[in-house]
Amino acid sequence: MRRTLLLSALFASVATVSSAQADKLLEELDDKSDKKEAVTNTFKATRIINSSTVENLAAGVLDFRILHRFGRVSDGVDNFFGFDNATTRIGLDYGVTKWLMVGLGHSTLYKSNDAFLKAKLLAQKTNGTPVTVSYFTGMSIVGDKAPVLPPGMEYYFTHRLAYSHQLLIARKFNSNLSLQLMPTLVHQNLVDSSAWSNNTFALGVGGRMKVSKRMAITAEYYYRVNNADMLNFGAKTYNSLSVGCDIETGGHVFQLFFTNSVGMNERTIVNQTTDTWEKGHLHFGFNISRVFTVVKPKEFQKGNSNW
């Protein structure tokens, strides 16, 4: 009797083992260490619309960007709704490491040249760090001829310079929704008059909401904490607001939008936006980008035996 019991017990255990065996083996493979995974693709591109996102180019990737803002839509048919006059920025961005990227650009507005650097400080993790944080700093040099200055005042080279600092704090709430806060400081060496500070503090907010796998609605807004009544070459300035969409084609992200800013660096966006949505002074614009892999990832470098 005992023998039968023992045998049947053995058989039973063997049978159970074999049926659940594969599942058990898979379970064994599950990484039990409490590894926190970095959240990826908070945004589809390195820009929301005008603002930088926390996304960096991968190391060794060069991005050729053309940013284009047409004239005022409200100009009507005379200027073909703004198509007849436009401002452009052409630029090159480069991913130095996976956490550092740099860029150079030239804008037609005020003939300015700009350079920036963006470094990732913190990465959002599943069940860990709640946000991704990047630091952005840039400078721009106005290339236009000297403006009309009060008598006796000279236009020095330093008057052409402006600096900007931003903290980009972003969170991907789910696969569709990402939001970004952007506390910003713009230091402009020369402003219209001493009535305004050379330092403008602004709080930017932006985000994207995916509506399909390949399309997302984007928006961004800068609220100026001071200098909100600032004049720019005598013209009233407004807070910058842009609304648009990201369309992903096979090779790149195509960004289309409406904005009241025609400048494409932080100085012009925060301090020098002289058009307003209220009067319909909108500009249609687009960003296109083409990326080139300059330095291949190590898995694909020559002499690697993967292929």
Binding site: R2, R3, L6, L10, V17, S18, Q21, A22, D23, L25, L26, E28, L29, D30, E37, T40, N41, K44, L57, A58, V61, G95, S175, K213, R214, E248, T249, G250, G251, H252, V291, T293, K296, P297, E299, F300, N306, W307
Partner: protein, 184 residues
């Protein structure tokens, strides 16, 4: 009688230890190539973080593939792979559960190369399909090397290819796998 039970128990325990031989790795490699014929760029990637266990007693073999660990030559392609095609946030892992077909013909105690077929369930992008994969098991000392090459149809795993990339991305991905599993 008691003595017999004891002997049987010891034997059973002993044989379990002797035959429940598992081989394992976390660094197996999978490469795939889904390039369409005549495409100007290669749609190909490599993953060196594939985990696998082979049980030489039962013939069970499993693979687990962290999808985000596939590396592409072009970073943008890697983004699209995860975001648009594999939806890696939703389906972070692909896996395979199978059984070696000709276990009797394999001798894990003797070095050699054994052709085999593994039948099982392959799960990619949250979709499972029964597959038969021909491959080779190479026994060398206390390690076994698993090698296999097979093709999967993207449509079988509900991975849709939009028309605008159909000239680059093919309808099938050629997968090759190689892993050196060591005795646990």
């Amino acid at each position: 009688m008691k003595k017999f039970i004891l002997t049987a128990a010891i034997l059973a325990a002993g044989s379990t230890a002797l035959f429940a031989q598992k081989y394992m790795t976390r660094t197996a490699r999978i490469t795939f190539d889904a390039t369409s014929k005549g495409s100007p760029e290669d749609i190909a990637a490599v993953n060196n973080e594939v985990a696998s266990i082979l049980d030489s007693k039962t013939g069970d073999v499993v693979f687990q593939v962290p999808v985000k660990s596939f590396k592409f030559e072009k970073a943008l392609m890697q983004d699209h792979f995860n975001e648009n095609y594999m939806e890696s946030d939703k389906f972070p892992k692909s896996d395979f559960k199978g059984k070696v077909g000709n276990l009797d013909a394999l001798n894990f105690a003797k070095d050699g190369s054994y052709p085999t077929t593994v039948a099982g369930k392959l799960t990619i992008h949250g979709v499972s399909n029964d597959v038969n994969v021909p491959g080779t098991i190479v026994v060398k000392g206390t390690s076994v090397t698993l090698k296999a090459k097979f093709a999967v149809k993207l449509a079988d795993y509900k991975i849709s290819v939009p028309n605008m990339v159909a000239d680059k991305l093919g309808k099938e991905a050629l997968i090759s796998l190689e892993g050196v599993l060591n005795q646990k």
